[in-house]
């Protein structure tokens, strides 16, 4: 076994783990600041300078709250629910290429934990397993509102997974590879996939909003109909895990979108600057994170701008508008490549 590579991967895994947690933590702060900005308020500004310690204060508050497990709940599954939600949210970051290759002591290391040749499908598999966290949690609460909320969340996620998969098929037709590393390498310079697949990206971002249960598709949590939705009975850090998993999912889906459609760690014209390989890699990673943060901001922008859908409108949009649009996109892409690339 190659111990240096093993050590590198281990350290890198922990770094990515910590970055994911920190970004998700500060997304909660960012969300409140963005909301405040949109609504002409100040937002959190008491804890630390500009309220920067607010996420820490929230975390401490979550841990200090009383831990309640309802007496009629299924104890084991009640604890299992948020654990699955959190674990599957964290697992997806493994296949994302966070940067190019970095040279340490004469050896090249890739800034990606695992370059699977089916990278995109792995992301989908994790998303589809993530549904269980919500379903099990909602059922184990033994509360009809929690059950209805979880069923609403799960059916919404399953419905939008289909259109999302369809939009990805068109993308795979253009790239010819399922590996996220290859897809990023093909988008050198300005050859970003958003230029070739604008419809696919539109479908993908709408589905990503629905998959992460965010506004305007945040129906699983609906005070007037369902109280708190699937996490009605949850309190303390178990509730925190559910809320936190949503922010991690938002970060990861932004990262996936930046990888698939916005060139990942590619920076236009950086080859002409004459910088060393390591500097280029680090700049690329920095640029990648800027792209991710911009996409997270778009998520928040949409949340505080658009009103939410009604449940039947949500299903109509998913099945009757996005699905045909995605299928049309596949057909158009396929026809284009049939008449240009293979003749």
């Amino acid at each position: 076994m190659d111990w240096i590579l093993f050590l590198y991967k281990f350290v890198f895994l922990i770094v990515i783990f910590l970055i994911t947690l920190v970004v998700a933590m500060y997304s909660t702060y960012g969300e409140r600041k963005v909301a405040a900005f949109m609504q002409d308020r100040r937002g959190p500004n008491r804890a630390g300078p500009f309220g920067l310690l607010q996420p820490l204060a929230d975390g401490v508050k979550m841990f200090m709250k009383e831990e309640i497990i309802p007496t009629t709940a299924n104890r084991m599954l009640f604890i299992l629910g948020p654990s699955i939600a959190m674990t599957t949210a964290m697992l997806t970051g493994v296949v994302i290429p966070w940067g190019g290759t970095i040279t340490i002591g004469g050896r090249e290391f890739s800034m990606q934990i695992a370059d699977l040749n089916i990278g995109i499908l792995y992301v989908f598999a994790m998303v589809s397993i993530g549904v269980y966290g919500i379903m099990i949690g909602g059922w184990a609460s033994n509360n009809k509102y929690a059950l209805l909320g979880s069923i609403r969340a799960a059916s919404q996620m399953i419905s939008y997974e289909l259109a999302m998969g369809m939009s990805i098929i068109a993308l795979i037709l253009t790239t010819g590879s399922l590996s996220l590393h290859d897809i990023v390498e093909q988008q050198q310079g300005w050859h970003w996939n958003i230029i070739y697949q604008p419809i696919g990206f539109l479908v993908f971002i709408i589905c990503a909003l629905a998959e992460t249960n965010r506004a305007p598709f945040d129906l699983p949590e609906c005070e007037t109909e369902l109280i708190g939705g699937y996490h009605t009975e949850y309190s303390s850090m178990k509730l925190g895990f559910y809320l936190f998993a949503e922010y991690i999912n938002m970060f990861i889906s932004s990262a996936v979108m930046a990888t698939l459609y916005f060139g990942g760690y590619n920076v236009p014209l950086i080859d002409q600057l004459g910088l060393s390989q390591n500097t280029v890699t680090l700049l690329g990673s920095l640029f990648f994170f800027i792209k991710i943060l911009v996409l997270i901001f778009v998520f928040m922008w949409i949340r505080w701008t658009l009103p939410r859908f009604r449940y039947d409108q949500l299903m109509n949009l998913g099945w009757k508008k996005l699905m045909p649009l995605a299928i049309f996109n596949i057909l158009a892409t396929g026809t284009y490549y049939y008449f240009t690339a293979f003749n």
Partner: protein
């Protein structure tokens, strides 16, 4: 690798036994999900990453979610399962034993299995699966898509509500 094989096999066997012996249907379904995830691990050990992930997406991610839906909505608990009489139990044991006997006899005869194609470690990779589906098995592949379409249309017709059986909206006031 051998250690991983035994670990995954142990997980599969134990969770498979739980599926059968668990009294509550929800625990059965959850054990079946664990069993499927371990099976995906076996696919990865055989270098079939594509099959592993498709297995996770289709079986673990879609079909088992539907199972869970049905069980949650019917709210199957132990109390609602009718108690079997001793007669049915004896009949079940006899039938199960006979089935086991037939299975043992069948596997004993076909113990030596000769694969039609030589084993290739690349067989489960996405490019190889694609080549097999779109060259050698193109016709069966396309015909099975027709089967899927007909199944989907059938499900939609079953799911569609009858217009006559729907409750009529109350007449508007003043009309």
């Amino acid at each position: 690798m051998v250690f991983l094989f035994y670990l995954l096999s142990a997980v599969m066997v134990i969770s498979g036994l739980f599926v059968v012996f668990s009294r509550s249907p929800i625990n059965s379904v959850l054990s079946l999900i664990v069993c499927f995830i371990a099976m995906a691990g076996h696919y990865i050990l055989l270098n079939s990453q594509f099959l592993a992930v498709v297995h996770l997406i289709v079986y673990t991610g879609a079909i088992m979610v539907l199972f869970l839906f049905v069980i949650m909505l019917l709210n199957l608990n132990r109390a609602t399962i009718p108690q079997k009489t001793s007669m049915t139990r004896v009949a079940a044991v006899v039938a199960g034993g006979l089935f086991f006997l037939v299975m043992v006899a069948a596997t004993r005869l076909t113990f030596e299995i000769h694969p039609r194609y030589p084993f290739s470690s690349k067989i489960g990779l996405v490019s190889e699966v694609g080549k097999a589906l779109f060259h050698e098995f193109l016709l069966p592949f396309e015909v099975s898509s027709v089967l899927f379409i007909s199944a989907m249309i059938g499900a939609m017709i079953f799911g569609k509500k009858d217009k006559e059986s729907l409750p009529q909206p109350p007449p508007k006031e003043g009309a």
